[in-house]
Subunit: 186 residues, 2 copies
């Protein structure tokens, strides 16, 4: 019985792939173990059960999303930055639906948690976008929450195919980004 050479990172990466392919709900200990060529109980040597696993997937997702946002925002400001951030956010959620779903399913977070740190970096990227607009100090938090709600809501609704076909969703998204830009510019 040869070793499989697993460690937490490998397990979580496989789980994230599986989540994207089959849906987060189908990331079962059994199916994940099978994909890794191992029996289900062996996973507990690397991960603290399913709750811990989805938490780690969420952390991975927020880290990746944060990196993507920082990449996209380099050298951009104002409407350009807003558009880039929004597109990046949306693209990530669509291309990694399982990972993204994990970020939603997560139960509340204590500070010091790596998940909290990863979330904070995403948050800061969105804050950086707003810095390109003249917004009252007191309103920044409100604008941030709005931006987040909008991006999250759009991504979620698009992923669950709630939007009726008929009018192009890309078109709606760019319209929506333009709407926010105009609103923040006044």
């Amino acid at each position: 019985m040869p070793r499989a050479g697993l460690d937490p990172a490998v397990v979580v990466a496989a789980a994230a792939e599986l989540a994207d392919e089959a849906g987060l709900g189908n990331v079962t200990m059994g199916s994940l173990a099978e994909r890794l060529g191992v029996r289900a109980p062996s996973l507990y040597k690397h991960v603290d059960g399913q709750a811990d696993l989805t938490r780690r997937i969420a952390t991975l997702a927020l880290t990746e999303l944060g990196d993507a946002l920082r990449d996209a925002l380099q050298g951009r400001a104002g409407p350009d930055a807003l558009s880039a951030a929004a597109q990046t956010f949306r693209t990530y959620a669509i291309e990694h639906p399982g990972r993204y779903a994990a970020t939603v399913r997560v139960t509340s977070v204590q500070p010091g948690d790596p998940l909290a740190d990863a979330g904070t970096r995403v948050f800061e990227s969105l804050a950086a976008v707003l810095r390109g607009y003249r917004i009252e100090q007191a309103d920044t938090i409100h604008a941030l929450r709005m931006l987040r709600s909008l991006l999250h809501g759009f991504a979620t609704l698009e992923a669950s195919e709630v939007f009726q076909l008929g009018t192009d969703i890309d078109e709606s998204f760019t319209w929506l980004v333009g709407f926010v830009d105009r609103g923040l510019s006044t």
Copy 2:
């Protein structure tokens, strides 16, 4: 063994209450049966399994939400209507987190489904709000999707306690409604 006098409506109502109290994830056939004073398999006489059950909860939720919106929008137009609709939406999602969660978990819908009808009525109420603003015909669908994304995203994030404490969430919400109003008014 006396009859319990159940029917689908009673079962779904109990399930919706349980979902709001304990979370949708804890609406198990066993716990629901216990609340109804019955054994789990008996529920299958009224409901087609768990998928059907959450689908019915979602239908109930969208029906209630649609009714609440229609009530709130009577005799209102423009900013007034927008504010009333937004508050109604948010309040419903907060007061009925389990029901609201069911509307998200639902798999795609065929026309003719009562769920689709209930969803359409909610949709039409939001469309009615937009009728109070001068919006290009072609942009209506975009504005509708934006409004929906925003309300849904905000409700979801608030429910999962993602917003950090620090600044009042009510305040952010009214700011956000004002932002949309100004944007739609130009």
